[in-house]
C-alpha cells in the first residue's frame, strides 16, 4: 500500500516537473512548479520528515510561488503564448541531459546501499529542534543573516532610481 503511494507521488512529481519546464505560458509554469513542490512535500511526509514537508508547503508554495506570480505579473506580456519560449539549443540540451540522467542513475544503481531497505528510527521533530539550537546553531544564525542580507539587497536593487 505504502509503495503505491510512493509511486503515485513520484509519478506526479515527475510529470509536473516536466510540465513546469516545457509549458509555453510562464504563469502556467509557475503553477506546475507549485504542484511539483507539493508532490515533493508529499515525499517528505512519506519519509517521516513532516516538519520539513510543512515548511516546504509554507515557504515554497506559500511564499516563493507567490513571489514568482508577482514577478510574472509585473513583467506582463513576457509570457505571451505567441512567443517562443525555448532556445535554439534544446536538441543538444535534451541529449546531454538524458546522458547525465543515465550516468547519475547508473552511479546510484551500482552503489552498495542502492537496495537498502533497513530503516532507522525516524528523527523526531524534537531532535531536529535540539540539533538546530545546539550542533547547528552557528549555521542557523548565519542563515538568518543571509536572509536579512537578501532582503536588504532585494530592496536596494528593486528601488526605482530617481
Amino acid at each position: 500500500m505504502s509503495e503505491l503511494v510512493f509511486y503515485f507521488i513520484t509519478l506526479c512529481a515527475c510529470v509536473f516537473a516536466v510540465l513546469s519546464v516545457t509549458q509555453r505560458d510562464i504563469f502556467h509554469c509557475a503553477l506546475w512548479l507549485a504542484m511539483t513542490l507539493l508532490s515533493v512535500a508529499g515525499i517528505y511526509f512519506y519519509l517521516d520528515a513532516a516538519f520539513l514537508g510543512v515548511v516546504q508547503i509554507l515557504v515554497y508554495v506559500g511564499g516563493i510561488i507567490t513571489l514568482f506570480v508577482f514577478a510574472i505579473k509585473l513583467t506582463s506580456h513576457i509570457g505571451d503564448r505567441s512567443i517562443r519560449q525555448t532556445s535554439k539549443q534544446w536538441g543538444l540540451s535534451i541529449f546531454i541531459t538524458v546522458l547525465l540522467l543515465f550516468i547519475i542513475c547508473r552511479i546510484f544503481a551500482q552503489h552498495p546501499w542502492a537496495k537498502m531497505v533497513v530503516e532507522r528510527p525516524s528523527t523526531s521533530l524534537i531532535q531536529v529542534g535540539q540539533s538546530l539550537m545546539t550542533n547547528y546553531a552557528l549555521p542557523f544564525e548565519f542563515m538568518s543573516v543571509i536572509l536579512l542580507a537578501a532582503m536588504v539587497g532585494a530592496i536596494v536593487i528593486g528601488k526605482v532610481k530617481k
Binding site: 543538444l92 540540451s93 546531454i96 547525465l100 550516468i103 547508473r106 552511479i107
Partner: protein, 595 residues
C-alpha cells in the same frame, strides 16, 4: 714607467668633452683638443725616453681566454710604434692648430674637433695594440672617424656618398683582414704580434693568411684595387685629408704590414704580392695624377702612389725603407694638404686651371708649398729624397729590377705632376678672378713648422735602420734618383711654363682620356660589381617583401582566421556557456567512472 697606455686616453677625454659640451664650449673645444694632443705628444716623448732607457712592451692584464690561450690588453713598445706615436701626436697637434683657422666659421666647429680627437685616440690605440684583436678594434675606430669626417659636410650629397664609399670599400678589405687574422689564430693559435716570428703551420695557409691580412692594409691604405675611395674622400675638410687621408690613417695599412713583417718575410709569396700591388698602385695613381685638375685629388692620387711606394719598399724586403718613407711622407704630405687647404681657403675653388700666380699673393703658403713639392719630388736634400732613395736602394740590392724601374718611373711621374701642380697654382698669371689673401697665423704657423720637417726630417734616417744595411752603391742610385726627379721637373717646366709642344696633341689623346677617366676603374666596378650586387639586393628585397613577409603575414592571417572561429564560441549568451559546462561535467564523469 708604464705610461704608454695613457696616451690614447687624452684625446678620448677631449672627444668626450667636445661631443657632450661642444655647443657651449665653442672655440674652447679646439683648445681642449689641442691640449689633449700636446699632452699625448709629451707622453709619447717620455715613452721614447723610457724606451731608450731599455723599457719594453708590457701587458695590462688578460682580457679574454680563447681556447685556453690568453689574449692580453698588451701595449707594444718598439721603434715602429714610437715613430707612429710621435708622428700622429706631432702632426695631429699642428693640424688641430691649423683647423682653428680653417674651420673657424663652421657651424659644427666643436663636432669637428670631437671627431678629430676620437680619431687620434683610435689611431694611437692602433699603434699601441700588441695583438690583432685590439688592433682591429682601433682599426675600425679610425675607419669610423674617417667616415664621419669625410661626410662631415653631409649636406652635400657628394660628401655623404664619398663617406659611404670610403666606409664600404675599406670594409671589403677589413673583411679579408678579419678572415686572415682568424685563419692565423686557428692555424697557430695566437693573436699576438710578438709570436709572429716563430710561427709553425702549413705554408700555403699561412701565406693565404698573410695575403688576407694584406687586403685589410690594401683597403685602409687605398691600394689597387681598393684605392677608389681615397680620391672621393677629398670631399671632407682639407685638414682632415691632411691628417687622416695623407699622414696617418692611410699609413695604418703600411703600419700593419710593417707590424706583421716577420710573417711576410717568412712567406715570399705574400711579400711578393705586397710589392706587386704596391708597384701597380704607385704607377697607376701617379699617372692619373698627371692629368687631374683638382688640387686635392692630385694630392690624393699622389698619396695612393706614395703609399704604393711604401708597400713596394716593404715588399722588396725593406722594412726600414718603407717605414722611413712613411715617416717623411707623413710630414710633407700633411704639409702639402695644408698648403692646398690654405689655397682653397683663399681662392674658394679646387680647380687648378682657374688658379695661377698665387705665389706673389700668398708668400708663406707658396714657399712652403714649394718645399713640400720638392720633398715629395725627391729632390735632394729634402726629406723625400732620402726615404725614396732607400726604397730604390733596397729594391736594387734585393734584386727586383722590375720593381726598381717601377719605383723610378713613379718618382719621375711624381716630380712631373707635382711640378705641374705648383706651376699651375703658384706661377704664371691668374686664369680667373681671384681675390686671394694670405691665411691667418693659425694656419701659416703649422705650415712653417711642417715645412721645416719636410725639409730636414730625412737627415734623421730611418728609425728602423739597421747597421747591417750598408751604403754600397748608394751614390749611383742617388744620382739616378736625382736625375730622374730633375727630369720630371724639367719636363713640367717645358710643358707648362715654356708651353713647348713635345708631341702632337692628337697622338696622346687616347692616353689622356684613359688617365682622365682614371683607367675607367670606377666604371668597371660600377658595371661588374655594384650593378650586379644591387640587382641581387633588389632580388633579395623582393624575396623578403613577397615570400618572407608573405609567410609572416600568412601566419598572422591563419591565426586571425582561427581566432575568428574561436571567437564564434564567445556568444555572450549565458546558456551557451552553461551548456558547455554541463557537457564538460558529463565528459568528466564519463572519464572518471570509465563508463
Amino acid at each position: 714607467m708604464q705610461i704608454a697606455h695613457y696616451i690614447p686616453l687624452f684625446p678620448f677625454l677631449a672627444f668626450v668633452i667636445n661631443i657632450f659640451f661642444g655647443r657651449r664650449l665653442k672655440i674652447v673645444s679646439a683648445y681642449v683638443a689641442i691640449t689633449a694632443s700636446i699632452v699625448s705628444f709629451l707622453f709619447s716623448l717620455r715613452v721614447f725616453e723610457c724606451f731608450k732607457a731599455g723599457e719594453a712592451s708590457y701587458s695590462l692584464g688578460t682580457w679574454l681566454t680563447i681556447g685556453g690561450k690568453p689574449l692580453n690588453f698588451g701595449i707594444i713598445i718598439d721603434p715602429l710604434t714610437i715613430m707612429m706615436l710621435l708622428i700622429v701626436t706631432f702632426i695631429g697637434t699642428f693640424i688641430l692648430i691649423y683647423s682653428i683657422g680653417y674651420m673657424h666659421d663652421d657651424p659644427r666647429f666643436s663636432r669637428y674637433f670631437a671627431y678629430i680627437s676620437l680619431f687620434m685616440s683610435s689611431m694611437l690605440g692602433l699603434v699601441l695594440a700588441d695583438n690583432f684583436v685590439l688592433l682591429l678594434i682601433f682599426w675600425e675606430g679610425v675607419g669610423l672617424c674617417s667616415y664621419l669626417l669625410i661626410a662631415f659636410w653631409y649636406e652635400r650629397p657628394a660628401a655623404a656618398r664619398a663617406g659611404l664609399k670610403a666606409f664600404i670599400t675599406t670594409r671589403i678589405g677589413d673583411t679579408g683582414f678579419l678572415v686572415g687574422m682568424l685563419l692565423l689564430f686557428f692555424t697557430c693559435g695566437t693573436f699576438h704580434f710578438t709570436d709572429l716570428k716563430s710561427l709553425t703551420g702549413p705554408e700555403p695557409i699561412l701565406t693565404l693568411a698573410a695575403i688576407l691580412i694584406f687586403t685589410g692594409a690594401m683597403g685602409k691604405s687605398a691600394q689597387f684595387p681598393l684605392h677608389v675611395w681615397l680620391p672621393d674622400a677629398m670631399e671632407g675638410p682639407t685638414a682632415v685629408s691632411a691628417l687622416i687621408h695623407a699622414a696617418t690613417m692611410v699609413a695604418a695599412g703600411v703600419y700593419l704590414v710593417a707590424r706583421c713583417f716577420p710573417l711576410f718575410v717568412d712567406h715570399p709569396m705574400a711579400l711578393q704580392t705586397v710589392a706587386v700591388i704596391g708597384g701597380i698602385s704607385a704607377l697607376m695613381a701617379a699617372s692619373i695624377a698627371t692629368v687631374n685638375n683638382d688640387i686635392k685629388r692630385v694630392l690624393a692620387y699622389s698619396t695612393i702612389s706614395q703609399l704604393g711606394l711604401m708597400m713596394l719598399g716593404l715588399g722588396v724586403g725593406g722594412l726600414s725603407a718603407g717605414t722611413f718613407h712613411l715617416m717623411t711622407h707623413a710630414f710633407f704630405k700633411a704639409l702639402l694638404f695644408l698648403c692646398a687647404g690654405s689655397v682653397i681657403h683663399a681662392v674658394g675653388t679646387q680647380d687648378i686651371q682657374k688658379m695661377g700666380g698665387l705665389l706673389s699673393k700668398m708668400k708663406i703658403t707658396g714657399v712652403t708649398f714649394c718645399i713640400g713639392t720638392l720633398a715629395l719630388a725627391g729632390v735632394p736634400p729634402f726629406a723625400g729624397f732620402w726615404s725614396k732613395d732607400e726604397i730604390l736602394l733596397t729594391a736594387w740590392n734585393n734584386h727586383h729590377p722590375v720593381l726598381f724601374v717601377v719605383a723610378l718611373l713613379t718618382s719621375f711621374l711624381t716630380a712631373f705632376y707635382m711640378s705641374r701642380l705648383i706651376i699651375l697654382v703658384l706661377f704664371g698669371k691668374a686664369r680667373s678672378e681671384l681675390h686671394a689673401h694670405e691665411s691667418p697665423l693659425t694656419m701659416t704657423v703649422p705650415l712653417i713648422v711642417l715645412s721645416f720637417f719636410a725639409a730636414f726630417a730625412g737627415f734623421i734616417g730611418s728609425p728602423l735602420k739597421e747597421a747591417a744595411e750598408g751604403a754600397q752603391g748608394s751614390f749611383v742610385i742617388m744620382a739616378i734618383s736625382t736625375v730622374v726627379s730633375l727630369t720630371g721637373l724639367a719636363l713640367a717646366y717645358l710643358l707648362y711654363i715654356r708651353r713647348v709642344v713635345l708631341v702632337p696633341v692628337a697622338s696622346i689623346q687616347g692616353l689622356h682620356n684613359l688617365l682622365v677617366n682614371k683607367y675607367y676603374i670606377d666604371e668597371i666596378y660600377d658595371a661588374y660589381l655594384i650593378k650586379p650586387c644591387l640587382a641581387f639586393c633588389r632580388g633579395a628585397f623582393s624575396f623578403d617583401a613577397k615570400i618572407v613577409d608573405g609567410v609572416v603575414n600568412g601566419t598572422a592571417e591563419v591565426v586571425q582566421f582561427c581566432s575568428g572561429l574561436l571567437r564564434r564560441t564567445q556568444t555572450g549568451l549565458i546558456q551557451n556557456y552553461l551548456l558547455v559546462q554541463v557537457f564538460s561535467v558529463v565528459l568528466l564523469l564519463i572519464w572518471l567512472l570509465k563508463i
